[in-house]
């Protein structure tokens, strides 16, 4: 197995994976464990990793599965069960106008707070798309979802985020 090759390919993802792990776990120590576990597992599985496929998506997927199996991740699993893709548009009540959204976006803190409070399935998909700039196809690989579901879950997640920002704006 080519450790040198693996090191060359995987270490540039280190900062990104760590940042993502922190956002998922909300705890630096947990994130450190998670990143170490991810690299250990990826190294072990690197032999079966097909060259030409997307290493970043593959490693994010390992990280995510490790997270779901971790102590902090197990708590989140129920959220996945409740995440009904065909759910109603429950956030309509908190509809936020583009103008209000524009204002809310001014505050870094408000956005980070809202993001932190989102349920994991919504938080992670927004991070993968807007922060890690993955394509829908990559996201589908990471989350093990059909490509069509990515778009609908992303829509729900963003609606949720906007509702949180809108609620905050309304309180001001």
């Amino acid at each position: 197995m080519d450790r040198v090759f693996f090191e060359q390919l995987s270490m540039p993802l280190f900062d990104q994976l760590y940042n993502h792990a922190c956002w998922l776990t909300g705890d630096r120590t947990d994130a450190e464990d998670l990143v170490q576990e991810t690299y250990a597992k990826a190294l072990k599985g690197f032999g079966s990793f097909a060259e030409g496929t997307n290493l970043r998506a593959w490693m994010f997927r390992i990280l995510r599965n490790a997270f779901l199996n971790s102590r902090s991740g197990l708590k989140q699993k129920t959220e996945y069960l409740e995440d009904d893709e065909a759910g109603a548009d429950e956030a309509v009540a908190h509809e936020i106008t583009p103008e209000a959204l524009f204002l809310a976006s001014e505050s870094q803190e408000a956005i980070f707070n809202a993001l932190e409070r989102l349920p994991v399935p919504h938080r992670e998909i927004i991070l993968l798309c807007d922060v890690d700039e993955m394509s829908y196809r990559e996201i589908a690989q990471v989350l093990d979802l059909p490509a069509g579901t990515v778009m609908s879950r992303l829509a729900r997640a963003r609606r949720n985020l906007r509702a949180a920002l809108g609620a905050r704006e309304a309180m001001r």
């Binding site: 450790r3 040198v4 693996f6 090191e7 995987s10 270490m11 280190f14 900062d15 990104q16 760590y18 940042n19 922190c22 956002w23 630096r28 994130a31 450190e32 990143v35 170490q36 690299y39 250990a40 190294l43 509809e95 106008t97 583009p98 103008e99 959204l101 524009f102 809310a104 976006s105 001014e106 505050s107 870094q108 956005i111 980070f112 993001l115 927004i126 991070l127 798309c129 807007d130 922060v131 890690d132 394509s135 829908y136 778009m151 992303l154 829509a155 963003r158």
Partner: protein
């Protein structure tokens, strides 16, 4: 917000770059005449720009990077690669010995290391933690020393990890590891580098002979390493290389 029936998610997909060229063109055309959609897109763009900063909100420590790198670092084959550095080391050693004689202060720094090694060899209880498993020995030091270091995988190498203990070197808490090489025992000492004593060390690099001990020392990322023992110089150097490989 009701005048335009345009789906907001299509606008999002547009910003995500996920629309086909045709869809993109017709949407752009629509937006030119629709202030609502234009405002919506502007707000989404702004939100994304603020969100981007989430990418660098958490940055990993250098220690974690080193740890992970050590975890996945390629294991060097134990071929004859060491011969070349060893011969260079020998030359450096000769120079170092000549140079070192000029300074008794430097000898003091070495003596401390040698004394620790000798006293450990002579001790009836040479280890605080007895294990050949680096995953046992390394965590044992946690909280006992104010720094962290990595240990190479000894399984399958010519070395065996015998154990470790907490020692004081240069008035600081230091980690001492005892590694077996055949019938010889080698001590590895790790201590935080502080201004002063590192410069006083007589050995710039490679293996030196001191009081019939072979010793190698180096500084990396604020830590000073010593490898000392009566094993042959090549073995000392190979152990030093293995340690250097996992400590960035």
């Amino acid at each position: 917000m009701t005048a335009c029936s345009q789906d907001r998610n299509v606008l999002a997909a547009y910003l995500d770059g996920e629309l086909t060229a045709d869809q993109e063109r017709s949407l752009q055309e629509h937006m030119r005449g629709c202030p609502e959609c234009a405002a919506e897109v502007a707000a989404q763009v702004r939100l994304r720009r603020s969100m981007k900063r989430a990418a660098t909100r958490f940055t990993p420590s250098a220690a974690l990077r080193l740890k992970v790198q050590g975890q996945i670092a390629p294991k060097r084959s134990a071929g004859f690669r060491w011969l070349w550095p060893a011969s260079v080391a020998l030359a450096v050693m000769l120079l170092a010995v000549i140079w070192a004689r000029q300074s008794t202060a430097k000898n003091e720094a070495f003596r401390e290391v040698a004394d620790l090694h000798v006293s450990d060899m002579a001790s009836a209880n040479p280890f605080d933690v007895v294990s050949s498993d680096r995953h046992t020995v390394k965590p044992w030091f946690q909280g006992k020393i104010p720094f962290a270091f990595n240990l190479p995988e000894f399984a399958g190498s010519e070395f065996t990890l015998l154990g470790g203990r907490l020692v004081y070197l240069h008035q600081q808490a230091a980690a001492q590891l005892v590694v077996g090489a055949g019938k010889h025992r080698i001590s590895v000492m790790v201590v935080q580098e502080s201004a002063g004593f590192g410069m006083g060390m007589p050995f710039a690099g490679g293996v030196s002979v001191r009081d019939s001990f072979n010793v190698e020392t180096w500084e990396k990322n604020g830590l000073r390493f010593y490898v000392i023992g009566d094993a042959e110089q090549g073995a000392i150097h190979r152990l030093a290389l293995a340690l250097q490989n996992v400590n960035g």
